[in-house]
Symmetry: C2
Subunit: 161 residues, 2 copies
DNA sequence: TATTGTTATACTCTATAACTATA
DNA sequence: TATAGTTATAGAGTATAACAATA
């Protein structure tokens, strides 16, 4: 065959695209603490979503300790603020500062250009297709959001989480 | 808006899908040295592609030192063999052993089931679409295969690598 | 007793630098 | 001199465990 087997592997393609995305956005988000992850935290903070650090950590697929470090860096840079949640004083409410909102706007624009670069081989219709398919997969993936992450082979073989 | 901003981010979707893929395949390929990466190396070795470790490392997006460790583990498990290339005795030719080919066949089947699990939210047509789009993106990405990986903002802004 | 967040620690993965052997 | 591969070392990123505060 002409196409080597590795190039036909879904995992290879996925990893390859992901690396390309991280490289492009790493340049676009240079200086923003946490890179793409920091951007996502900043986005969430700016939205003022009433989610705890723990809930946000789950959505972003990171450990809660990693979330602490991420927010530490963003707070040190004056982009976000932590306040105790009046309703549950164990939890912290995250909010973006004025500087954070400004930085987010810049980052969003830089990110848009970087994504255009990454998606360059696809035409506009294909780009929309890819975004839709990935979003669908990410939001409806079994075990990712619907269920909690459990490394259970039986569940994997089963079907409904 | 109802859909929180993070879920609309391409990077979030890509990372989320990639994590789900790694988790599912991590279970499917349990015991195979190197996991998905080891599978890709084994695949390449079985194909008998006349590529050096260095060339393979580039295709897989890893450092050449990582490739050494990967092959070390696969060789220790008796799945692949290294032989000096007669044409260039600095280089090594990789080949799969009988055990390696058998293990690859098992792994391929396990991987197929894991991918079905990961792609469960998509219908058959959508799965094909996603595979095609990712493959197109991975093989035609600027700076990934066509050009060498260089962290050059000017090139990024430019267009042709 | 369970949970949120933090800290300290350890581990894994990956990259850097120096080396050998070939070219 | 440059390149393929290896090794040792260092670094980034991540997870584990113990702790404080609160529920």
């Amino acid at each position: 065959m002409h196409t080597p087997a590795v190039e036909a592997d879904l995992g290879w393609a996925l990893g390859s695209v992901f690396r390309g995305y991280l490289r492009a956005t790493g340049e676009a988000l240079a200086g923003l603490p946490g890179g793409p992850r920091g951007y996502q935290v900043l986005t969430s903070a700016e939205q003022g979503e009433p989610s705890s650090q723990l809930a946000l950590a789950h959505r972003l697929g990171v450990d809660r300790t990693v979330m602490t470090y991420l927010i530490d860096d963003l707070e040190r840079s004056g982009l976000v603020e932590r306040r105790p949640d009046p309703a549950d004083r164990r939890a912290r409410l995250l909010s973006a500062t004025a500087a954070g909102r400004a930085r987010l706007a810049e980052a969003t624009e830089a990110l848009r250009r970087a994504e255009d670069h990454v998606l360059a081989p696809l035409n506009p219709a294909e780009r929309d297709q890819l975004r839709d398919l990935l979003r669908k997969l990410a939001t409806e993936a079994p075990g990712e959001n619907a269920c909690r992450v459990v490394a259970d082979v039986a569940a994997l073989e089963g079907g409904s989480c």
